[in-house]
């Protein structure tokens, strides 16, 4: 693996109140620095809102508008249009939300913005649950993971937001991981250079929510990528799929073992999850391969 490298111009400040070892704060550091000074942030209620805010202090050097949970993408669309009216069309509007604000409560606003192809960069910090409010399940919570509201493990599957977004044929969709920070920075920079709606989903292993050790968020995210449980990819115009990490190099076991939310799993459960990952991976390969043959 290549060594990590990205630019840090001090756009994200020390003293924020993210948990010690939080991968979301780490990812935010990379994103805020990659997107640059000429940016306005729009934030949905989420861990992000807490990490960036805390009046009268802010940990971001850019101005940030704190909106409502259901309207992040709509607020961002409005901010972008207002900036355009002021002749500041080059200013990036960065919308930051969690999976609750993206997969569930903000999905309508996001879908509408995507359908209108609003010129916003939308980042979803996907920690697979409402982790900020005590750890309830969201529609992003994966199959069999325990949360406060799924104590025996979630019975249904994680919503496939990537496919939903692809169906909107927006110019750019990507997934990223705090274990691959140079890749995250490169994807933000690429998205910033594209006009229209761009969405980046970043996997955030939540330390208290997933039951991961304080020093293990990056390791857990890396295992997710290596196991193919969270593939790193890019989709252009909703149809051109490409895999950033083209190989699945390990079984899912080590990824599951790192997290307490999976500790109730039986061997059969683990095998079932493995075959779900394998199936999803082959579907993904087929999509990426189809593009190669086009």
């Amino acid at each position: 693996m290549e060594m990590t490298k990205y630019r840090d111009n001090g756009q994200f400040c020390s003293g924020h109140v993210a948990c010690a070892g939080c991968a979301e704060a780490l990812s935010m550091r990379v994103i805020l620095n990659a997107v640059g000074e000429d940016t306005v942030g729009v934030v949905a209620p989420s861990c992000t809102a807490v990490i960036l805010g805390g009046h009268p202090m802010s940990s971001a050097k850019i101005p940030v508008l704190h909106g409502t949970l259901e309207s992040a993408a709509a607020s961002a669309s409005g901010v972008k249009r207002a900036l355009k009216a002021q002749g500041r069309d080059d200013t990036t509007v960065l919308c930051l939300a969690g999976d609750g604000g993206t997969y569930d409560i903000g999905l309508q606003a996001l879908s509408s913005a995507a359908e209108r192809n609003e010129d916003i960069l939308y980042v979803c910090f996907d920690n697979e649950g409402y982790m900020n409010t005590g750890g309830q399940k969201s529609s992003s919570t994966p199959h069999m993971a325990t949360t406060g509201s799924t104590p025996l493990g979630k019975a249904t599957h994680k919503k496939n937001l990537i496919e939903i977004l692809a169906a909107h044929r927006i110019p750019y969709i990507a997934t990223a991981s705090p274990s691959h920070l140079s890749d995250l920075a490169a994807k933000v920079e690429k998205a910033k250079s594209i006009r229209g709606t761009k969405v980046i989903i970043v996997l955030i292993p939540c330390l208290p929510g997933w039951g991961v050790a304080d020093n293990a968020a990056v390791k857990t995210a890396r295992l997710a990528v290596e196991a193919g449980a969270f593939p790193l990819l890019e989709i252009e115009d909703g149809v051109h799929y490409s895999l950033t990490v083209a190989e699945k190099t390990r079984p899912i076991d080590a990824y599951l073992a790192e997290q307490k939310r999976y500790r109730r799993l039986s061997d059969e459960d683990r095998a079932a999850l493995q075959s779900e990952v394998d199936d999803a991976w082959s579907r993904l390969l087929a999509r990426a391969g189809k593009d190669l043959n086009a």
Partner: protein
Amino acid sequence: MNKHPSPLWTHLTSENRMTGTWRSALPNYQNQPSPCLGACPVHGHIAEWIKQVKDGDVYGAWVTLTENNPFPAIAGRICHHPCESACNRQHMDETVGICSLERFVGDTALAEGWQFSAPPTQETSVAVIGGGPAGLSAAYQLRRRGFRVALYETKDELGGLMRFGIPAYRLARSVLDGEINRITAMGVDLHLGVPAVDGAALETLQNSHDAVFLATGASLPKRLPALDYANPWVVDSADFLAAPVSEQTDRTGARVIVIGGGSAAMDVARSARRLGRSVTVLALEPEGRLPAQRIEVEEAVEEGVNFVHGAMMKSAEALGSGVVLNCVRVDFEPGDAPGAFSVEPLDGSDFELMADTIIPAIGQDADLARWSGVLDAKGPVVATGRDWQTSKPGLYAGGDVASMNRFVTQAVGMGKEAATAIAAALTPGDARPPANGAAQVAYDRINIAYHDTHGRNRQRNTEIEARLATFDEVQQPLGPNEARSEAARCFSCGTCIYCDNCYFYCPDMAITKLENGYVVNSDYCKGCGLCVAECPTGSIHMREDTSS
């Protein structure tokens, strides 16, 4: 107060909040010893010089290497490399080829003619008795520190076992001469071909020098009681190895039996093969457990040496133009001390071997008789205490004469340690640096996500047919690109490579890069330990912090 740049309602940055108060542990940058360093007989800073090779700074690597060992080209060829056995990389794919890299650095230094700087000579003078690896290593370390050094050697040439015990196909004489000449060029007062130093001579040397280092090696061959060494068909292995090729040819018949399973036995057997002899090695140890290095045995087999394992000779007698060896199978049990063992002959397993020449190679003893009553002995070697000082104050001893650790680099290490002790004793107020007491970096401290699987870059051997035609070197060196690639395989256990991972993975921007290192900002560090977890070299660890 840290003002927010944007003139909005929120007017301060979060830097006003000291999240360091949350912390119970703080990352601590500490270069810790690597397992290779712990295993190295000369305590060489392996991770450090390999990084220099990786960065293309071969001269820097040579300077680092030669702090502890003046013989990188020699050690790179013949060291038993316990460093490689200890290497953490073996748990991922294969050990790093440390020895081949050492040879690369040593050979480059010889080709470039790099020399040691020789500080001006002080009045303080040390006598070194014996010009083998221990004596030369001590002479080198003493000269580096400015001491006057007088070196006494009974032979007409320096090198000891390296010259008279190791055949040229393992260690080219040009390499040996090159690395020895570089030491004598530092200004060593050489006395070659002198009589062996006895008790009285020892006294004289002690009176004329401030300290004496005794490194006369182990020159007495161990004898097999069942063999009459007066027979013309018995040749002592040390004599054989020291002799020129013409003499080796004259003294051996067509069928040679070598008795012993150590390095010397392999050297004799493979030399005899180069003379065109048919060679059988008779060893007490069962197959796979010979004391010789595994690679030596493999190469001997490749060169057509036959092995009879787990057997001993009971007697030998002339029969016709040849010799018949009466042998028996044995049960072999190794003992606790190096070289100790016991054997039990197996009834009814007698057999015979035919030969023209028998060359016993069962080890050498130190000749202690010449100092009896003058120096205390401990078993078969000169007794030494801490710092290799003998029972006579000011007289130090190291190498084969003082230890049963008989590998060349162990002797080099003892020479270095004794020289360091002598220097400290002769320089009042010169405190020795405290030893790095930190624990060795274990494999689980290395984040292998940053190290790609990559098999070892292997040295090639000359074709077997060509090997048997000459005494030219068998092992061919790594090329510069192979060496760089091999150096890049090193995990650099415990030695920071300044990769900036700790800086990049901090979610709290609490690590600042300095010119040559990092500093943790305790105002903000929450003590999560991500920097430690993502360190590819294991050179940071978390330390409990009770300050706040």
